[in-house]
């Protein structure tokens, strides 16, 4: 499954004021993989993603994508290189229609009619509601819209930040099914999740983040079996 190195972080440090939220994180995502970053609240997962997508600047360290440094590029240029993100809290444009939201996903490149059909195929709900304003969708639908919007960019790497957050269990399961489907189409995914159990079940590899540092890195299946992980993140004694 694993091909060339797509994304690589080397000793990345991110600070908020004087506080280090991420303290020397290094990991790689290879082409075709589904990699997950798990960890508790405040472990630095979202900060790591924001730094990759250029919303935050690293204080030290290197981030490269397809062998090229991207840690000094502005966010919009990183998107143009083929990294797209479904951000934490979904961040749908509330006063744009579903269709307009999806079209926003293609902002960084040209627009193609077929893309929107592909997304509608994947998420039929969105097709039903394509004229509705994004802000009026339910949480689960908004999550699908956020994923669809990120897919519209036709990314080389899709990053998802807490897609299960605040959703009813029924929706969570559905979202993860869809994630697997997207992955099966050959798209590389970096998934950040608090719901470690689900994330590790669909992932190829996983990294465990704790207080801004990676404390464990292994195949997802092995992590699922790891005693420490089971205790800390899977709620088992």
């Amino acid at each position: 499954m694993s091909g060339d190195v797509l994304l690589e972080l080397k000793d990345v440090v991110v600070r908020y004021g004087g506080i280090e939220a991420v303290r020397g994180v290094s990991f790689v995502v290879r082409s075709g993989e589904l990699v997950t970053l798990i960890g508790g609240n405040g472990a630095g997962k979202t900060t790591t993603l924001s730094t990759v997508s250029g919303i935050k600047r690293p204080y030290a360290g290197e981030i490269s994508f397809l062998g090229e440094r991207i840690d000094n590029l502005p966010a919009h240029e990183i998107v143009e290189l083929g990294i797209s993100q479904s951000p934490e809290g979904r961040r749908i444009f509330p006063r744009m229609s579903v269709r307009e939201n999806l079209v926003m996903g293609t902002f960084a490149r040209g627009k193609k009619k077929t893309d929107i059909d592909r997304v509608f195929e994947l998420f039929p709900v969105l097709k039903e509601r394509h004229k509705q304003a994004g802000g009026t969708l339910s949480g689960g639908e908004q999550q699908m819209l956020a994923m669809g919007r990120a897919l519209m960019a036709d990314p080389k790497l899709l990053m998802l930040d807490e897609p299960s957050m605040g959703l009813a269990p029924k929706f969570v399961a559905r979202i993860f099914e869809l994630l697997e489907e997207v992955h099966a189409q050959g798209i590389t995914i970096l998934l950040v999740e608090q719901n470690a159990h689900l994330a590790l079940q669909i992932a190829d590899r996983g990294y465990v983040l704790e207080s801004g540092e990676i404390v464990l890195a292994d195949d997802a299946k092995k992590l699922l079996g790891n005693e420490a992980v089971r205790k800390a993140y899977l709620g088992e004694d």
Partner: protein
């Protein structure tokens, strides 16, 4: 009670004429209000200096109209009037647009870079407004850029001479360095060159007088074309100038609406207004969106400035932006700031309210109406009539 009945009678008497006046002035308010509302939409910033962007347009008209051959007492007619008006309109819009861009670059972007709190933006905006106003006051051909002559006079010329001398030395060093391939000489040459340039600029600042552009007194702008009645509607004569205001406003608004709804950049503007972070994750270049927003607001204010000047025969004056600027801001808040349709609605509404108030309270109180309306609206509907719907 007497006051109210008298007032009602007066308004009824002049109803259509005041409606006409209100709609013309309201269109102009609406166009200025768009600048406030769009910038507020993307930056959540009240661009206090927007009234100066408007003011610059009247100054541009002062120069553009004679440039195209129209002088005081000799207005253009027929087709040439139309063509000259369009040319002058373009000049005014470009001048205002340029000022809006400079404003963004010099007064707001450095603050944005630091992630400064909102209060800082407001204060910087007020400072920029004051700065531009008095820059035009100072540009009367009498004032120097550097105010303290006691220091400037003995320093200015020597500095310039030193600057020139250094430039010559730098040139020699560079030339010799390049010929002999000595990097050290080239570096030294570059350094001396910069030093010379700095001295030269400092000297110029001390010696140079500001150009004669405007000065402290209002300058009357030549009338572009003569006023005439085009037709009479409901017993009210409609002049060609008032008609022009409405036509130009409608054209501008249609273009703007299409730009914001249909183009890629327009989508970018709406996205940034709704959620800047999500927008940048979609690949929207926020800086460019902000620049374009300022530019569009400036172009609109430029058009509004020329129309205001045309319809009221207003002079070019450093303080002329203040009243329409404040009122347009009130209009933007009235309609719901950040909301493009709200700005148009608010502008027309405020124009009408002011016009109907004239017969009742007289012109000397008229400026009070806008603020009273603002306070009342904010008390009962704090987000304006249509609500704050940035990018909606």
């Amino acid at each position: 009670m007497d006051f109210v009945t008298n007032c009602a009678a007066d308004v009824a008497d002049q109803f259509w004429a005041q409606t006409r006046n209100g709609l013309t002035l309201g269109s102009i308010y609406a166009m200025i209000a768009l600048g406030y509302t769009m910038v507020y939409g993307v930056l959540q910033l009240i661009n206090f200096a927007h009234s100066e962007v408007f003011m610059v347009s009247t100054v541009a008209a002062l120069y553009a109209i004679p440039f195209f051959g129209v002088t005081e007492g000799d207005p253009a007619t027929g087709l040439s009037a139309v063509l000259i008006f369009i040319a002058v309109l373009v000049c005014c819009m470009l001048a205002s647009g340029l000022v809006a861009l400079l404003l963004e670059r010099l007064a707001y972007r450095p603050l944005r870079k630091r992630g400064a709190p909102r209060l800082s933006f407001l204060i910087s905006a007020i400072g920029a407004s004051l700065f531009i106003q008095y820059l035009f006051v100072l540009m009367d051909g009498e004032h120097y850029l550097f105010p303290i002559r006691g220091i400037a006079d003995p320093l200015g010329m020597p500095l310039m001479i030193i600057g020139l001398a250094l430039a010559v030395v730098a040139g020699g060093l560079l030339l010799a360095g390049v010929r002999r391939g000595e990097a050290g000489w080239v570096d030294a040459g570059t350094l001396t060159g910069f030093g010379g340039l700095a001295a030269l600029i400092a000297g110029l600042v001390f010696v140079v007088k500001l150009p004669d552009i405007l000065g402290p007194t209002p300058q009357s702008v030549p009338e572009l074309f003569a006023t005439s009645t085009v037709f009479t509607l409901l017993g009210t004569p409609i002049s060609n100038k008032r008609l022009l205001v409405v036509v130009v406003t409608v054209i501008m608004l249609v273009i703007l609406d299409n730009f914001v709804r249909k183009t890629r950049m327009g989508r970018g503007i709406r996205a940034v207004a709704q959620d800047p972070q999500a927008a940048s994750l979609m690949g929207v270049n926020i800086n460019r969106v902000i620049v374009v927003t300022f530019l569009v607001g400036g172009l609109m204010a430029g058009a509004a400035g020329l129309l205001y000047q045309t319809v009221l025969s207003a002079p070019a004056f450093w303080f002329i932006g203040f009243r329409p600027g404040i009122k347009a801001f009130v209009a933007a808040v009235l309609g719901g700031i950040g909301n493009i349709r709200g700005a148009i609605l608010g502008g027309l509404l405020l124009g009408l309210v002011e016009a109907y108030a004239v017969p009742c309270i007289g012109t000397q109180w008229i400026d009070v109406t806008a603020f009273v309306v603002l306070v009342i609206v904010l008390l009962f509907r704090p987000t304006g009539i249509l609500g704050e719907q940035a990018g909606g």
